[in-house]
Amino acid sequence: MTTSLLAIYAGLYFWGVARYEQHTRRRFPQRFIAAECIALVALWVAIVALDAWADASFAAHMIQHVILIAIVAPALVLGAPLRVLLGALPRAQARTLARVLRSRAVSMLTAPPIAWLAFIAVLWGAHYSNLYELALEHPAIHIAEHVAFLASAALFWSHAFPVAPLPARLAPPARALYLFLAGPPTAFLGLSLWSSHGVLYPHYLHVTNPFGLSPLEDQHAGGLVMWASGSVMTLTAVLAVLARWARAERSAIVACAVTFACSCIATPARTNAAIDGKIVYAVHCASCHGADLRGGPDAPSIRGVGAADVDWWVATGRMPAAIPWVQQPRRPLLLSPAEVDAVVTYVVSVAPGGPPIPHVETNGNLQRGRELFAQNCEHCHGADAQGNSIGSDYVAPDLAAATAKQVGEAVRVGVGMMPKFGERQISSNGLNDLATYVDWVHCGRQTPGGIDLSAIGPFGEGAVAWLVVTIGVTGYAWFLGTRMRRANETKEPEPVD
């Protein structure tokens, strides 16, 4: 369907160009047509060709969005479709359209700060709320999301490369600054995704990744794509603007600005280690835990702790740890899954004992699991398993990325500050039920109502209410009241009685 829509649009565009040349008796610049074609082709590649991959991989989805924002949107703007429209319409309608485009309302709505804010807001809002997850589940919302990306990006780029008939609103240095300032928010978003500890979009926990990455690694890759592409995109755009300006102004300041505008992009390195458990241990663990597993000043003894304990710490990325004796957060794995298994086997073989890795399934009783969660877990981990502080600087982490096996391990071992729940207190069936509920909370649960404000609770809801009241309600009162006063000011007051 997208292909046919694109074909229709292409057809209309070329027909419009023909009408434009007929009405204005001028050639429509070739480069604009080329830009529009590039836009349409890139759009087709992004939406149609990459679609299957985008559903299964966050990184691929990110590439899709990057194409939309960094290639399709600017190319669409450079193709000057509005100019074509103005030229193609009959005179009266063209005049009305021109008047609308020049009106105060439109210029207010498309002002550079609004365009910039809208672009950043759509970008952040789509990724840091459950809109992304909703979009993956509902095609209608997904289409709306892509339209929003395209529209906000097109508006953003319309100030970077002003093309008639919209007036150029920013002088070249302002344009460069406008583009440059868009760099940090996109980079920051990408960076936060790249270094995130938990999987943000549970949809990816249930699909097979076509590149063989784990959901967290996939998310990190997507963040890296965003970071890198955002930097490259902004840098290129700023350089293009400065180059044009330099050609026009030939100022030395431009040269300095170009140097200033160079941002650095760093890429992380990934290490590879051998699969022998003893060597893995020696490389990553022995420096703190000792060659004999007895620990030392930087780490406790791990003799006899059990396979479940070691597996939990290493498979969640908490170990190897850089800083000793603090509460370790979940981190991207430094070791491959094979290395994790190898080191677990090695540690248990050297000093046997402790609880084994429990076998936990997610086919248990959901109701019993909810009860167990409410009795034993929600006071620390939160009713949504979203994590919370447990006093001082310790937290009970959010359980979004916890697999059923990890839930079982944590419960049976009593990792870190967690209490240790034995067989008599929570049976193995109970553990299955618990894991089923934890899994359900993050994937496919019933929680209608809309955007869930990250389950912060009444504090978040109050913040939204205040935002709406102070900006929406008070702002509108100011808007209406000042209009009324301005209209009334010149009138002589008539006596009432």
Binding site: Q367, A383, S389, T447, P448, M484, R485
Partner: protein, 457 residues
């Protein structure tokens, strides 16, 4: 054709023509800040409209039974009738969740709107004679709003609100002398009795709205009788009111405003989740979910309870703890100060004259400074109420935050007051004739430069 005849029929019997003519031409000062009180009124209309629907659908029963409904994790679990009925509203009744969410969003907006209106009245000195009574009625409306909100979100008997009810019960029980009866009246005997929901229902749906509507009627009546205040301006005196006529000018603007508020509330109710009680689960007095916060308008109380140091005083045989001080004494003092503020201010300013003209907030540095300090004080307390959430997201130890808030709750309001007074002292209020500040004259010196000479007017 029919409508004019019906209207004429009524008018013949009630003689309303002259009153209506007078009413339609009433002068409404056309400054935008006069519309803020209406925002609360429109939020209340939405609350009542959605509340009536919910009152029919809600079952105020504390009787427990197994849940049989579409929310899977709770199927078969023993829940109270009240909780089950709210699940029914949210998951089964068509549009039920929409009504419920719009109602709750309207409630949180209602209190914010009252606060903004109250701030405007305070900053402009509209509470001075002869409007002291109306100020007290208005502040009582705020208290009623807080109570309605608390009782409203406690009705579903879910884990989060039940925890709040427990805290409220304990504070009531600790109140001097009337404690035992106040606490027992609220819950119908002991805590977690089956009559609690019924009590809350009667209080929230019958007594509360009756008092609210009565107080609003009184508020509007006094306003009508005393007429609005107005800002200084050309032609404005203490003895008149200039503004747009009620009909059609002001009424249409007000309807535009009200319909936007309704749009915002319905949009919030449709697209932003609020109070997902199914996630919290039914209330058990021995279970709790973290984080545990009340709705924002009671966040200051929770913050006060959190940061108040653990004191224990034995006074004349009575045992006083921090819960009583933070939960009853400090709020009691605050409420007393707010309620009787017109008289408190008069004790300092010795200004007992009638004021129908408003002050420019920038021209009365002390009062504006007090407003800034009060706002900051309650804002710090509100933020202190969610110190555990901040600790989790900002990676700061919760103990550090608690100590920081204990300091900030004194320092920040003081700073706010001083900063406001300092910043505003230099500004002069308008018009200059009323201004008691100094005028400045620019003179040309003999050496050719310019110099300022301050002269008293």
């Amino acid at each position: 054709m029919i409508v004019p005849r019906l209207v004429a029929w009524a008018d013949e019997r009630l003689g309303t023509r002259s009153f209506v003519k007078h009413a339609l031409r009433k002068a409404f000062p056309d400054h935008w800040s006069f519309m803020l009180g209406e925002s609360a009124l429109y939020a209340l209309i939405v609350l009542i409209a959605t509340g009536i629907y919910l009152a029919f659908a809600f079952n105020p029963s504390g009787e427990r039974g197994p849940y049989h409904g579409p929310y899977v994790p709770l199927q078969g679990t023993t829940v109270s009738g009240a909780y089950a009925s709210v699940l029914q509203i949210s998951f089964v009744l068509p549009g039920g969740l929409l009504f419920r969410q719009v109602h709750h969003w309207a409630a949180v907006l209602f209190v914010a709107a009252i606060l903004i209106h109250m701030t405007r009245v305070f900053l402009t000195g509209a509470f001075r004679r002869p409007r002291e009574l109306n100020w007290m009625v208005g502040f009582s409306l705020l208290l009623l709003g807080l109570f309605e909100g608390f009782s409203g979100y406690s009705m579903p008997d879910d884990e989060l609100s039940g925890t709040g009810l427990r805290i409220g019960y304990s504070i009531a029980a600790a109140t001097p002398f009337i404690g035992k009866w106040a606490a027992a009246f609220l819950t119908g005997g002991a805590f977690d009795s089956p009559q609690t929901t019924g009590r809350l229902y009667a209080l929230h749906c019958i007594l509360g709205p009756a008092l609210l509507l009565g107080a609003i009627a009184l508020h509007m009546l006094i306003l009508w009788r005393q007429k609005h205040t107005q800002f200084r301006g050309p032609g404005a005196t203490e003895a008149n009111v200039i503004g747009a006529p009620m009909w059609p000018n002001y009424a249409i603007v007000s309807l535009a405003f009200g319909s936007l508020i309704a749009t915002l509330l319905v949009a919030l109710g449709a697209f932003v989740q609020i109070n997902p009680i199914w996630q919290y689960g039914p209330y058990h007095p021995w279970q709790v979910a973290a984080p545990a916060q009340p709705d924002w308008y009671l966040g200051w109380l929770d913050g006060a309870l959190r940061i108040f140091p653990p004191v224990e005083i034995n006074l004349a045989g009575y045992h006083i703890e921090s819960a009583l001080l933070a939960g009853a004494v400090v709020p009691g003092i605050a409420i007393g100060l707010f309620l009787f503020w017109p008289f408190v201010e008069r004790a300092f300013t010795h200004d007992g004259a009638v004021h129908n003209l408003l002050d420019d907030p920038f021209g009365v540095p002390q009062r504006t400074g007090i407003a800034a300090a009060t706002f900051t004080f309650f804002a710090v307390l509100t933020f202190a109420g969610s110190n555990d959430i901040q600790s989790y997201y900002l990676h700061v130890p919760v103990d550090v935050l608690t100590v920081a808030y204990r300091v900030l709750v004194f320092v920040l309001p003081l700073l706010a007051y001083l900063a406001t007074v300092e910043l505003l002292r230099e500004r002069t209020s308008w018009p200059p004739a009323e201004n008691e500040g100094s005028r400045k004259t620019i003179v040309r010196t003999t050496s050719g430069g310019f110099d300022e000479k301050a002269t008293r007017s």
